[in-house]
C-alpha cells in the first residue's frame, strides 16, 4: 500500500460517500458505545471494536456511530457494549467477543432484533447521573 496523504484520505471519503449514496439504505440510526476502561481493554475491547468496524463495513451500515467510553461499572461482564437505536430498547450487552459483536451488527443493527443472551440491562447505578443522591 502506498503511503496515503490527507488529500488521498479526502478523495477516499468522497468516493465512499458516492458509493454509499448509490445503495438503498433504510435510514437506520444508532449509536454503539464500547466500554474502554482498563477492564474493557484487558478483556479484549480492541478486538470487539475491530469486529464491529469490519462487520458494519461488510454490511454497508454507514449511519451508525461507534463511540467509546470508560468503565460502565460492569467489569465482571467485559467487554461491554451499549447500543442505542432510535426505535428499539436501549441495551447494554456484556461478555461481547468478536463473534457476538458480529451478531449484534447483523441481528440488532441490521435485523432489529435483540441479541437476548448477552443483554446486561443498563449501566451500573453508581455511574448513572444522580444515583445515590
Amino acid at each position: 500500500m502506498a503511503k496515503l496523504t490527507l488529500n488521498d484520505l479526502r478523495k477516499l471519503r468522497d468516493e465512499t460517500k458516492r458509493n454509499m449514496s448509490q445503495r438503498s439504505t433504510e435510514g437506520k440510526r444508532a449509536e454503539v458505545v464500547i466500554g474502554m476502561g482498563t477492564c474493557g481493554i484487558a478483556a479484549g475491547a480492541k478486538a470487539v471494536f475491530d469486529a464491529f468496524l469490519d462487520e458494519m463495513s461488510k454490511a454497508g451500515i454507514e449511519d451508525v456511530t461507534i463511540k467509546q467510553t470508560g468503565c460502565m461499572g460492569l467489569c465482571f461482564s467485559e467487554p461491554t457494549v451499549e447500543v442505542i437505536c432510535n426505535d428499539m430498547p436501549h441495551v447494554v450487552y456484556g461478555n461481547v467477543d468478536d463473534k457476538t459483536a458480529r451478531r449484534i451488527v447483523r441481528e440488532h443493527l441490521a435485523g432489529k432484533a435483540l441479541v437476548s443472551d448477552h443483554i446486561f440491562d443498563k449501566p451500573s447505578t453508581d455511574i448513572i447521573k444522580n444515583a445515590g443522591k
Partner: protein
Amino acid sequence: MHATLCDLMTDMIQNAVEADATMIELTICGTEEHLEFEVRDNGKGMDRETQAKAIDPFYSNGQKHAHRRVGLGLPFLFQTAEAAGGAAAIESTEGKGTLIRFRAKTQHVDLPPFGDFAGAAAMMLTLMPKGEMKITRILSGEGYTLSRSELEDALGGLNSAGSLTLLKTYIASQEEDLRKAG
C-alpha cells in the same frame, strides 16, 4: 495485565480523557534497544499524594465508582515497564495536566507484543469527544504525526464505520511506510 503495548497506551489515553483533557499528545519512540512512549495531557492533574497512590492497584479515588477499591491502569503500566527492564513515571500538577512515561527494553522477553497500531490509534483518536490529540510515532529516527483535528477535517467526522475504516487504512499506510523506511 494488558495483552499489548497498544492496550497500555489506549488505557493511558482513556485516563487523560477522563481527566477532562482538551489536548492529549502521545509520542512513541522505538529503537533496537528501547521502546518508549509518553502521554501528555492538559487535564485536571493530580496532587503529590494522589500521584503516589495512583500506582497502588488497591487505590481508586472513588469519584466515578463510589464503592470501588481497585484502580489497575497505572499499576499495569508500571508493572509491565519494570518486568521488561525499564521504568515508568508520572509527573503531574493539579489543575495543569499529567505526563506519563513508559520505557522498556525492546528485546526483553517479558515485553508484551506491540499490537495492531492502526486499529489502536484509530480508537485512541476517537476516544476524545472533542479537543485535539496528536500521536507521533518514531521508529529508528523516522516518523509521522497524526492530528485528530486534521483527520476530522479530512474525513468530515470520525465516528462512523466508514470514517473509522478509512482512518485505519490511512494509519496502516503510514505504518507500512515507516517500517519500510526503518
